[in-house]
């Protein structure tokens, strides 16, 4: 298959994670008191998504290099 699914998964969570982190930094902390028990869930969970997305893209790149090495 021409497309390694780890790329779209990785990029999707990199993009969404970044948006959430940025919003987590600039948003009014009051919304977290109303909804998420005072936890800035956008910031923390967004950061985790960036890590996850990065790992996925990393794995896909490693997979592509391995394939090139074999071929």
């Amino acid at each position: 298959m021409n497309l390694d699914i780890r790329y779209p998964i990785g990029y999707l969570f990199l993009v969404i994670g970044t948006i959430l982190v940025v919003y987590g930094v600039v948003s009014d902390p009051a919304i977290y008191a109303v909804h998420s028990l005072g936890v800035n869930i956008n910031l923390w969970w967004g950061a985790f998504q960036i890590v996850f997305g990065g790992v996925m893209v990393g794995l896909a790149r490693r997979g592509a290099r391995k394939k090139d090495g074999e071929g």
């Binding site: 497309l3 969570f13 969404i16 919304i31 956008n42």
Partner: protein, 577 residues
């Protein structure tokens, strides 16, 4: 329409980004679709872990996710039986014992296996009922999504239907089964990332598992059950009156754990198709086992929010303020809205977008999974069999693409029908339940008893379906009066404590009748297949080398993997006993 959840511009942005990725995957795959095999079977090129997650996700439609949340609120941790009893054992059985015959037979679909093993009429029965069922399920998914989005976000019914239908149409039309599988994997991660923080925040709110348990005890005693009825999975099923589900252990283990669960996971082409897309026999057998690992932990993701919601709702009814309460409906609660309401309660703008996108993603992949399964059965089992047998492959690729278009068109029609006549949908759902109930008996005998004949299989299925209908028509759940719930044959011979108990026993009756009559009719009719024809289709006639795992190290083999999955599941049952 007035919206219930405040959906900000940022949330819409996240939804749009997701849609772009979904369509992008279809676009990237368009060049790989060179023949009908690429389009309908992914050319057997799907890596094992991808097939495994898709296998899990294909079943993880939004109705499933929201339904599990609803049941978590209604029945507590006992809902996990739908996973630990009603899914994992069957998934392991499929991988270890049945997949060698599906994959080894080179059948392109489950109905085609029935053709190879039995005869044309058995295949036809299965193929037609399955094709109608997939269209119906896809339409129901579409309808449910449009209704929910209208209620939560104020979207118009027509708009929701148009958007979801168009997106699914485009990505399947371009990328076929591969596109559907890839998007199912994407959806799996969306669900995990969208729901995990909900569980985290909810548990934190109620004081962790121990706090939740203590508070669930109040909920249970207020309804007249033992304090542990919501937090202990096995201790309260000695009799139906002890648990809110109204079931007893035999009906649960045999009806759900054996008949319904094996009937679904081991014979439904929608899930089996994902495993058939794997490149090798071993990878195909491993697919349901890989799926079983996250599956066993899914109760924590989808059932816990319901359990937390019922605690918060109970506290609110006792005067606690500022918390969460389920909306009321007909004097009770509208349990189906547990999950989206919890998302709206705990998630601020941003995370809310992600959570709602995860929900939409699972609605759409519920549609896509059905459409891709329909495409294959329509093209190979119906069109190629009954309409045009010997055409070049390009012709069948075109037919498969067209099937996507009219499959989705029919789904839209179903969605509108569901909106106009709710009762017809209930009746249809019931009919499908009757057709599905006996199926596993046919496959079990087909794979493990070489003497089973085509006549035996076909009439066994017909009689099993009739037995399911008759049992349902002669019994009724306690307190129900509607004919859709049972008793439509005039006389009521037995009253079940709950409709769930009735379902389990309907399935048990259907299975037993199908099993018995298939054996009896097979013995009375001559087998038309020679032993050579049945090689690779029946256990006793398939040499062991055919499923040889070669030089694979012990830990990569199928049987140890399956055993490990079973042991872990047993442990989970013990922990939440």
């Amino acid at each position: 329409m007035q919206s219930v959840i405040h959906f900000g511009r940022l949330d819409y942005l996240i939804v749009c980004i997701y849609f772009v990725f979904v369509l992008g995957i279809g676009w990237m795959l368009r060049r790989s679709m060179k023949g009908s095999g690429d389009f309908l079977m992914s050319g057997h090129r799907i890596p094992g872990w991808v097939a495994g997650l898709a296998f899990l996700s294909a079943n993880l439609g939004a109705q499933e996710v929201m339904g599990m949340g609803a049941q978590g609120a209604k029945y507590g941790i006992m809902t996990s039986h739908f996973y630990w009893v009603g899914a994992i054992p069957a998934m392991v059985f499929l991988g270890v014992f049945m997949m060698p015959f599906y994959y080894g037979s080179k059948a392109r679909s489950v109905p085609e296996y029935l053709k190879l093993r039995f005869d044309e009429k058995t295949r036809g029965f299965n193929a037609f009922s399955f094709a109608v069922m997939t269209i119906f399920s896809s339409g129901i998914s579409m309808y449910a999504m449009a209704k929910l989005m209208g209620l939560l976000l104020g979207w118009s019914f027509e708009g929701s239907i148009a958007i979801s239908a168009l997106i699914v149409l485009v990505y399947i039309f371009l990328g076929g089964l591969t596109s559907a599988i890839y998007n199912e994997v994407l959806q799996f991660f969306m669900i995990v990332f969208g729901f995990a923080p909900l569980v985290f925040l909810g548990l934190r709110d109620v004081g962790g598992w121990s706090g939740l348990k203590a508070k669930l005890a109040d909920v249970a005693t207020s309804q007249g059950y033992a304090p542990g009825a919501w937090s202990e999975a096995w201790r309260h099923i000695g009799s139906p009156s002890q648990n809110p589900m109204g079931v007893e252990w035999f009906g649960l283990v045999m009806g759900l754990g054996f008949v319904l669960s094996f009937g679904y996971w081991c014979t439904d082409f929608l899930v089996v198709q994902r495993a058939l897309a794997a490149p090798t026999m071993t990878a195909a057998r491993r697919t349901p086992l890989i799926a079983a690992v996250p599956k066993m932990f899914f109760p924590f993701l989808v059932i816990l929010p319901g359990m937390i919601a019922i605690v918060l709702t109970y506290q609110a009814s006792k005067g606690a303020t500022g918390g969460f309460a389920l909306p009321a409906k007909n004097g009770s609660y509208d349990y189906d809205l547990v999950v989206p309401y919890m998302l709206g309660h705990y998630f601020p703008t941003g995370m809310l977008g992600l959570g709602m996108t995860a929900l939409m993603a699972s609605f759409m992949s519920g549609m896509a999974g059905n459409v891709t399964a329909f495409n294959t059965v329509w093209t190979y089992d119906i069109y190629q069999t009954y309409f045009a047998r010997d055409k070049p492959d390009a012709h069948y690729l075109l037919v498969a693409r067209m099937a996507t278009v009219f499959g989705i068109a029919l789904s839209i029609a179903t969605a509108y029908m569901a909106a106009a006549y709710n009762n017809i949908m209930d009746v249809l759902q019931l009919v499908f339940a009757f057709v599905n109930a006996p199926l596993f008996a046919t496959f079990l005998l087909g794979m493990f008893w070489k003497r089973a004949t085509g006549h035996g299989a076909f009439w066994g299925l017909v009689l099993g379906t009739a037995a399911a209908a008759a049992h349902h028509g002669l019994t009724i759940p306690f307190g129900e009066t509607s004919l859709v719930k049972g008793g439509w044959l005039g006389a009521v011979l037995h009253t079940y404590p709950s409709s769930m108990a009735q379902n389990f026993w309907t399935a048990l009756f259907a299975w037993t009748v199908c099993f018995g009559s298939t054996i009896a009719i097979s013995l009375a009719t001559a087998s038309k297949k020679t032993d050579a024809q049945l090689r690779g289709l029946v256990w006793s006639l398939t040499p062991h080398e055919d499923r040889d795992e070669g030089s694979l190290p012990f830990w990569k083999r199928i049987a140890p993997f399956g055993a490990l999955v079973i042991v872990l599941t047993l442990l989970l049952n013990l922990v939440f006993w």
